[in-house]
């Protein structure tokens, strides 16, 4: 009996040991006595995006060759609200995170990311950054928290084929919201597809209502006696919602599906089911790589139509450094970001080299226009350098390129934008799903809710 008992005890001990070592595996990798920095970075492309992944791997090799002592470990992860907090608290979050354009201000406010201004300033071209691009990544004290990738301004994406089928000229897209309404009505009547769609789920409803409000001359937050208060119950927001209501219920030009986020909309657009939506040139990449849009033949994008506001919303995909990352790794993280992101948007030779590599894969979208991350002159040099490798029809992006510089680029609401969008999501959903929705009552309630939320934020 004694022997089997001992065997069992040994097994139990082994199991306990395994459990303990399993737990030990949860702790993050550490530097080897401070000599070698292992940097875990998000933003590594998925294996399905073979060209981009090959390019990423080459970048890692080049970077490591130029920076001995820093090892890059790529991660396919992106910022994920479900796991981010736990990984941050457990200090297992990557050292560089990739977050969507809607998140930086919330992360800065919650102190989940750390400023990298000092490290960025050491770069020769820091002062040449387009201030409009850095603004959404900065706090009130002018501290910068991230490096953007492909900055953009919102515009109006449209399906050129549906325009033609509906008897509209795809080379003369709508410039005002009245024209958008008329075009949407025509597309719906002639093709049976949704003329125009507006997102309304997962905070994107509030986000899109904000850009629509900007075009009507409004803003969502304003300052009063040194405090930020909501400016939701405003004629500009009301006009925006009345426009949506009229298109949805009077013109019946917004299709049947309403509860959609950006992926849902781009998916339907790629399938030829949507005439127009508010988006950026970057949505073409999404439509092509994720939803199988073949080419830019049917894709068109113009600057955001206006109704007196002469403004649009800016943004970017952003790389940031979490607050839990130790100081010695932050320097390495910024070095990597400047090498991997900023240089390709500043140095024409680097841009050309990367565009050439990407263009080898027919699935890649090369040359999709962005806003200048530095000066316009610098962007022109980049555009000229990558021209031989561009595989999109730049003519179809021209209305956006020509119209956007005439607009004021406005950032997202400065305080608790995501919470504000949550409140506004409900308003947009009501207008899009209830025929008898009372816009005034909805805005009155949203204003009260937003004021209460903003007051709590500034306690």
């Amino acid at each position: 009996m004694a022997t089997p008992m001992r065997v069992r005890a040994a097994l139990v001990a082994a199991a306990t040991g395994l459990a303990l070592t399993g737990c030990a595996g949860l702790t993050p990798a550490k530097d080897d006595a401070g000599t070698d920095v292992v940097l875990r970075v998000q933003g590594m492309p998925a294996p399905t995006d073979s060209a981009a992944l090959a390019q990423f791997n080459r970048l890692v090799q080049d970077f490591q060759a130029k920076n001995p002592g820093i090892t890059i470990e790529g991660s396919e992860n992106r910022w994920d609200p479900l796991t981010f907090s736990a990984k941050l608290a457990g200090k297992t979050i990557e050292d560089v995170i990739q977050v969507p354009l809607t998140e930086p201000q919330g992360l800065i406010a919650r102190k989940h990311v750390q400023p990298i201004t000092e490290q960025l300033k050491q770069w020769t071209h820091y002062q040449e950054f387009n201030p409009q691009v850095l603004q959404p990544l900065s706090d009130g004290a002018k501290q910068v928290y991230g490096v953007p990738q492909a900055p953009f301004a919102q515009g109006l994406v449209y399906n050129r084929k549906l325009f033609t089928q509906a008897g509209l000229d795809p080379d003369k897209p709508p410039a005002t919201w009245d024209e958008v309404r008329a075009a949407a009505k025509q597309i719906s009547a002639k093709t049976g597809k949704a003329g125009f769609v507006h997102e309304s789920k997962g905070n994107t409803g509030g986000w899109q209502l904000t850009m629509l409000t900007y075009t009507h001359g409004g803003s969502m937050e304003t300052e009063q006696d040194g405090k930020v208060v909501a400016a939701v119950n405003d004629p500009a927001t009301k006009q925006s919602l009345e426009l949506l209501k009229a298109m949805r219920w009077t013109d019946n030009s917004m299709g049947q599906n309403q509860l959609m986020d950006q992926d849902d909309v781009v998916k339907q657009f790629a399938a030829g089911q949507v005439g127009m939506f508010m988006g950026t040139p970057g949505t073409y990449k999404l439509a092509k790589t994720k939803f199988g849009m073949k080419s830019t033949a049917d894709y068109g994008v113009t600057s955001l139509p206006q109704a007196g506001g002469n403004a649009t919303l800016g943004g970017a995909e952003v790389f940031m450094v979490p607050a839990s990352v130790p100081k010695e790794k932050v320097d390495a993280a910024v070095k990597w970001l400047l090498f991997a992101q900023a240089e390709a948007q500043y140095e024409p030779t680097v841009a050309a080299e990367r565009a050439k590599e990407l263009a080898k894969d027919p699935k890649a979208a090369v040359g999709v226009p962005t806003l200048p991350m530095f000066s316009t002159a610098q962007q022109q040099k980049i555009d000229a350098a990558i021209k031989p490798y561009v595989n999109v029809e730049l003519e179809h992006f021209r209305p956006w390129l020509e119209g956007t510089p005439k607009l004021t680029l406005k950032p997202e609401p400065p305080l608790a934008a995501q919470k504000l969008y949550t409140i506004l999501d409900t308003v947009v959903q009501s207008v899009l799903t209830k025929k008898d929705a009372n816009v005034d009552a909805l805005l009155t309630k949203a204003q009260a809710d937003a004021d209460k939320m903003l007051a709590a934020e500034q306690k």
Binding site: R8, T16, S85, R110, K201, N257, S324, K419, Q429, K434
Partner: protein, 311 residues
Amino acid sequence: MTTLLERPEVTKAEPAVVASRRRAGLRRELLGLLFLAPALLVFGLFSWWPIVRGLLISFQETNLVDPAVWVGLENFQAVLTDPLVGTAMTNTLLFVGLGLVIGFPAPIVLAAVMSTVRRFAGVYRVVVYLPVVVPPVVAILLWKWFYDPGSGLFNQLLGLIGLGPYPWLQSPHTAMLSLVLEATWAGMGGAALIYLAAMTGVPAELYEAAESDGAGIWRRIWHVLLPQLRPVIGLLLLLQLIGTIQVFTEPYIFTQGGPDDATLTVLLLIFRYAFQDGRYGQAAALSVLLALVLAVLSAVYLRLTRSWSTK
């Protein structure tokens, strides 16, 4: 005599025997504890510690990076004055209520029908149980297409008999009902098999006796079958209540709480507090309140389980 003579020897040996027995008992207990250690460790790390941590966070303000600040009952006050909590509770109760009306009787009826089937019974059981093994996300995405107001399966089918089209998930009036229908489809297989097992366990003599007393089908169901199933019905009812109060996956994937907050449930609101807004303290406070409600239900559940097992 022999017995009398031997007795003192036994008495003398007793302390040693007792000590030896104690040592053996202690060894057994230690060994038992050793066996339990991995389970205790895993439960402690991944179940009990998070519960304790959640309770602590409900009294704190934290961003999970900087040191937490104790705020007393502030998080509970904030939660109880948030109008969305009322909306979320009403919606959750609506889901629970619709689940009881639609989802609860469905497996009983299904099991009753299946119990009468003689041929291919196994095939029917597999078919009925199949939705349970389909991953919830896959099932919901499938139903999302069924509910598509334009080209969805339901509107296409109903259109054949001149009904619809209905907005399903797109309307605040029908969105919750749509969620319950999917949840019922996805979950009734397991309950139906449990009912079926309980039904086959009802002694045939009881039916025969009732039949000889002149009882028809409905009287046999009412007076024989249902009383026999009562303990199972009671338990599954409580399990369903506990499960439906914690509904999250359906509203999260189908509607994210919309339209117009019509499918915003308590768990989805907790998710929003924590993962969209970073209000971890308030998320934990609402979780604690929900846990209290569930604890009451669990107490009832335990009581019923005890009485069931003693029958």
